[in-house]
């Protein structure tokens, strides 16, 4: 007779019964600092947010590590980017969580990217094109209009998973929309001088920022998404960019600075560090700070 199995059959129910009911704040697992910040804006003290990645991590390259599985286990709501950005780890997390509330299709699973019009939707996909996203470019946060759309849907979702506080979320949502609209008008006015600004990017994760503010991406340092540049490709870039020089090279907090700095030295333009996500720079404390700081840095480099 397997004594161990008998022991387990006695102990498991006891352990399960000991699961504390989640009466307190709504537990939200956000995949990026941006979504973490947005949930905090919209949920205030009714939510308890855990952010799965840091500003210095490439969100695509994360492992379904034990700490994340543990957080998924107890989450009432998962807020993800979607569009395959978290494809390597989110499916594992959801499957291993033993949490039926956050499975795709359930109210507790929220994806942001499918709510907004995606840029760079490829007409054909093939892995020879690099780390291409079949559904379109998933780095949607840096267009202020996208945040407004996503915030609306997220407010509604918070109310759906936590109906007891629906009125609270509605009020906070309205307040956020008001403040965000004012800020957006301010940013768009400030950004007027950036129209048509020629820049070089590293990965194609500034696409929405450039689209929003009509900044021109002359080239990207990665020859294909996710593929590091070869020496030959960099030499080609130098030739090409010496002929049509950009005003600056944009680098995100999580990018390796070396290729950008190497190129900057040769074509004599500055590298501008952008926060990319909340927490990417000390000034980008929340979503408002992220946009404020991004614009401040772009405008300063454009002087």
């Amino acid at each position: 007779m397997p004594r161990h199995l008998r022991f387990l059959s006695l102990v498991l129910p006891v352990l399960c019964a000991g699961v504390p009911a989640a009466q307190a704040a709504l537990k939200v697992l956000a995949t990026t600092p941006d979504w973490g910040s947005l949930v905090t804006e919209l949920g205030g003290d009714k939510v308890n947010v855990y952010t799965a990645t840091s500003p210095f991590q490439d969100v695509h390259r994360v492992d379904a590590k034990p700490s994340l599985v543990a957080r998924a286990r107890s989450a009432d709501l998962v807020v993800a980017t979607g569009a395959d950005l978290e494809i390597g780890w989110m499916p594992v997390l959801l499957q291993d969580s033993g949490n039926s509330r956050i499975q795709p299709g359930a109210p507790g699973y929220f994806e942001a990217a499918p709510l907004v019009p995606l840029l760079e939707v490829p007409s054909a996909v093939d892995r020879s094109m690099g780390d291409i996203h079949p559904l379109g470019n998933p780095h949607v946060t840096l267009d202020a209009h996208n945040i407004a759309i996503i915030a609306k849907a997220l407010s509604a979702r918070l109310a759906l998973v936590d109906p007891a506080n629906a009125a609270y979320y509605a009020a906070r949502g309205e307040d956020f929309q008001k403040r965000w609209q004012q800020a957006t008008l301010k940013w768009e006015a400030e950004a007027a001088p950036l129209r048509g600004l020629p820049v070089v990017v590293i990965h194609r994760d500034q696409a929405y920022l450039c689209h929003w503010l009509a900044i021109r991406e002359l080239a990207s340092i990665e020859p294909k998404p996710g593929v590091p540049p070869s020496a030959g490709y960099l030499a080609e870039l130098v030739t090409k960019l010496t002929a049509t020089p950009p005003k600056m090279i944009l680098r995100n907090a999580y990018n390796d600075p070396r290729a950008a700095e190497w190129l900057a030295e040769r074509i004599h333009v500055p590298v501008v560090l952008l926060p990319y996500t909340v927490g990417g720079t000390p000034e980008a404390k929340d979503l408002f700070g992220l946009f404020d700081d991004t614009l401040k840095r772009l405008l300063a480099a454009n002087q």
């Binding site: 199995l5 129910p13 991590q57 390259r61 590590k65 759906l160 991406e217």
Partner: protein, 477 residues
């Protein structure tokens, strides 16, 4: 059947959702039922109201968005630069017949091996060998397994996975074919079918995700080269805590080594495991675990020679109990493995076997008692020193102890009649370097000094490729 009872009991409890008011009076039950009905009605009303509100919000968003987009396009006159790749609008949806096709991925692996010893003579000295799977494989160019995986959710309640490995010799192994529950809740997941046991750390990891081209010696000796597979059921429970604590149990038929397929209704392979994990700061994450496996085998045959050098077939019938302690630690600057990552991994196993050993099954067929207490461990470290390049080192050590062989104790046979079981301490040191052009292709060179044989050192040089096509693989820890 006696063995099934506790498992069945646990499963029943799970399916019933822990009725904690099991002893309540009939009045209470009626009251509860009424309350539940009221709650249900209330919730469905709320959900309907919210759904209506979402629809309203969505239409508002669409309405507000159209002029906003037009306005921003008008105010920002210069058009965005045309992207480099041939992007276009979303393609029109084609046939819906394929919309629910499972995710398909294919892994191609192959190698070139240069070995100083004949791989046919490979044997981990001191241990009863598994039927297959020991050693580095054949010399020269080899097609390794080509792995085909199909995965999909079945419905809201189940996820299903089929992994079939087409071997270089044209045979097909069903490595895994299982379903997994999605809707049990309470942190519970039930898996059923054929799956890799959660015993140890490396056992659940498919070969193309290993950091070396072959398995640690202790896995080869204790689980038989192929991973420990279960045809059975597994229940896991994840604790509702901020750190990772997982408990699980498995029951299976004992199909793979150290068990054997038996003509019996009872379960022949039971496992229990506990995993604990978490993060240390931004950059480090870890997992550790303890597992226990008990497998029964009937006439588990192996080839040996007797004291005169004549080939004989011997067989073990009895019970193996294996303890595994594992630990894995990963470090990357800010947790981002793009440029640098360090991974330290080790496992220690201890196995006892009790039962009968038959000598020369087809000839003299002598039977006596058998008891062994054996252990082994490995430790490996991998470092990504520049983007796409990793180097690693692994050390394997085994200790066979001296098994108690009844036929030797009784004086029926000399110890030299069991040369494979002579006490030994096999070890191996392996160096590895690999290069991954993308997440989907990897090339590896590996060099090992293998002292698994008691007689001679094998210097093994391997070149390996691993290519992944199809659906994006999972980044398991």
């Amino acid at each position: 059947m006696r063995n099934l009872t506790p498992v069945a009991g646990a499963l029943l409890l799970v399916c019933w959702g822990w009725p904690d008011t099991g002893q309540a009076a009939p009045d209470d039950v009626t009251a509860l039922r009424t309350e539940l009905e009221a709650l249900k009605a209330d919730y469905s009303a709320r959900v309907q109201a919210l759904e209506a509100r979402i629809r309203e919000l969505e239409s508002n968003v669409a309405a507000r968005n159209a002029p906003a987009a037009a306005a921003s396009a008008a105010s920002l006159t210069a058009p965005a630069a045309a992207p480099a790749a041939p992007y276009a609008a979303a393609p029109a949806r084609s046939s819906n017949l394929t919309a629910f096709n499972p995710a398909v991925s294919v892994i191609l692996t192959g190698n070139y091996a240069s070995l100083t010893q004949d791989p046919a003579t490979y044997r981990i000295a001191g241990f009863i060998p598994p039927p297959t799977g020991e050693g580095p494989g054949d010399r020269s160019f080899n097609l390794d397994e080509s792995e085909l995986t199909f995965t999909s959710n079945v419905d809201p309640y189940f996820f299903a996975n089929l992994t079939a490995a087409i071997q270089g010799d044209n045979s097909i192994d069903i490595e895994e074919a299982y379903f997994k529950t999605l809707a049990l809740g309470h942190g519970l997941t039930l898996k059923g079918g054929r799956f890799f046991s959660a015993t140890g750390y490396l056992n659940e990891i498919h070969s193309h995700n290993w950091d070396f081209a072959d398995q640690p010696l202790v896995y080869q000796a204790f689980f038989g080269g192929a991973q420990l597979g279960q045809d059975g059921a597994q229940l896991r429970w994840l604790a509702p805590s901020e750190y990772f604590l997982e408990l699980g149990a498995e029951a299976g038929s004992g199909r793979t080594f150290p068990g054997t397929q038996r003509n019996a209704n009872s379960l022949a392979s039971d496992a229990l495991f506990a995993h604990l994990g978490g993060d240390i700061g931004d950059s480090t994450s870890w997992r550790t675990g303890v597992s226990w496996l008990r497998a029964r085998s009937t006439a588990r045959a192996y080839q040996d020679v007797d004291q005169f050098g004549t080939p004989v077939t011997n067989a073990f019938t009895g019970t193996s109990r294996t303890w595994v302690v594992d630990g894995t630690l990963k470090w990357a600057p800010h947790g981002d493995p793009t440029y640098h990552q360090f991974k330290l991994q080790g496992e220690w196993m201890h196995r006892t076997e009790d039962g009968q050993l038959s000598f020369d099954l087809t000839g003299r067929n002598l039977v006596g008692g058998y008891g062994s207490s054996q252990s082994g461990w490995y430790m490996q470290a991998i470092y990504e020193f520049i983007q796409r390049w990793r180097a690693g080192v692994r050390y394997d050590s085994m200790s066979s102890g001296t098994p108690g062989i009844g036929l030797v104790g009784s004086g029926a046979l000399p110890l030299t009649a069991f040369p494979t079981l002579a006490s030994a301490s096999p070890e191996r040191t392996t160096l590895m370097i690999d290069w991954s052009l993308s997440e989907f292709s990897r090339f590896r060179a590996q060099y090992a000094l293998d002292d698994a044989r008691a007689s001679a050192r094998d210097r093994q040089f391997l070149l390996q490729y691993i290519l992944a096509i199809g659906a994006h693989g999972a980044h398991k820890f």
